[in-house]
Symmetry: C2
Subunit: 308 residues, 2 copies
Amino acid sequence: MTTTDAAAEVVEVGPRDGYQGIKPFIPTEMKIDLLRRLVSSGLKRVEIGSFVSAAALPQLADTTEILAACDDIPGIIPQVLVPNEKYGRLALNAGSRFLAFVLSVSEAHNRNNVRRSPRESAEEYGRLLAAMPDDVDMRLNIATAFDCPFEGRVAEAETIALLDCLVPLRANIELCLCDTTGRASPDHVEHLFAACMQRFPQVKRWALHAHDTYGLGLANVHSAWRQGVRAFDASYAGLGGCPFAPGATGNVATEDVAWMFRRMGIDTGIDLETLIPVACDGAAIPGGLPGGRVRQALAAAAANAPCL
Amino acid sequence: MTTTDAAAEVVEVGPRDGYQGIKPFIPTEMKIDLLRRLVSSGLKRVEIGSFVSAAALPQLADTTEILAACDDIPGIIPQVLVPNEKYGRLALNAGSRFLAFVLSVSEAHNRNNVRRSPRESAEEYGRLLAAMPDDVDMRLNIATAFDCPFEGRVAEAETIALLDCLVPLRANIELCLCDTTGRASPDHVEHLFAACMQRFPQVKRWALHAHDTYGLGLANVHSAWRQGVRAFDASYAGLGGCPFAPGATGNVATEDVAWMFRRMGIDTGIDLETLIPVACDGAAIPGGLPGGRVRQALAAAAANAPCL
């Protein structure tokens, strides 16, 4: 979190969110090589995997090895997702220093994901926090903050009521509102962030996890940026989506977000010319669901046009 | 132009901008059938074709027939593109009551399109206006208002200098700023519209022609909306792009724009459930270059999920 007010931090979530829905196992060496290349393009924070039952998510069973390999990737800030206190402790023991936890505002979505109510998940989050040393960074992901695949649009009051339980537990975190379905509109993003930022000024940092399923990924990133959000999840090659949200393929693509900010003159630290070939290789991963526009547009432009 | 301040007008340009780059001739009867279905989805103004040399654009050689067929399509407001005074008179004689003219801010792009300087095209526009009765509506398209495929980013001062020549000729028009390359960013859209609307308050109506080549189509539409723009060009199925701008495929898709406004609670008069099947048929036109997200996302959602 070294970005200034005039810079945007892009958090690369492809290696976790993008890979987890891919059936054929991506060889660990290939994951590490892609990770190294992503970081060499200027990305720093990467969600590299998840400490979770290997039976539940076999694609992420090598997270411990990936985490260890990060010691040899200069500049990387590896973030890992954990589903509960137990796996949080495993992640800590394996050397994690940036953990992410997720729960949903929507009862139906949370039960579908972890067979618990949102309030029960909030209690689990409290136990996880209690087990974490002070020097461990924390990201809290609020899924279905805007909209739920089962229940439709989520009322702002519901999202805020859940945050009323969560924020007092620890304010020194990064709090990420997630558009799980991709159906948040830019005015909704603006309004919910405005309400949350006003109600919870003690939160250290706000983030947006945007999906591009309906083409609104960049519109929503821009809207959150205008509101003062400075951290944005994105997946290289637009890989992934939520396997529990039917039809919700399509994380916003890292290269699309980096492109927009570059056109706006806002620093992300990302070198697009280095990133695009990695995104092209990511899009070619067998079983992957790639998305985004910039990858193909820049390839077309390179073939035809004199300027980017 | 019957929209209120709280409503957005989507101008369907697929039948001209989307079709003109398609090599295999689309049978006239098929064009008329698609046009009828587009209007039945709630679209009113449609750029149905271009009065132009049939040798230059053989796909649009049947514009006179299409225009005549509009007499039997209740509610349609047919708009036609004309390249100069001569073809403007032909369009008037054929019964056109809504004409569009285009010129580029960028010298290189204008010369590439019509082998004239922008100032020479401005004079042609003056001759066209002089030939038009008062009851004929006029749309003026400013190509490369933001960015040029040959010259890169266009300075705001350049766009405004050209408008200084054009606006005094007739203010009672719709003035459309066109993102020819798709490389305008939302802050650029906001800033240029703000500057133009302040300098030319006499202009009756402003419009944006957005491209989605780099995924910024909806972000730019939203940005213009925030600025007070109420008319937006879009192409069903995302068909088309500028054949003279290398790599610049991808008009923003009508269904994507309609979707965003619906999620924002803003009326466009478009019924998406009627439009999507037409967009699917448009995407299947042989030789077409479809784009957009909502068409496929809604199809996936209909197959899997309980709610839109």
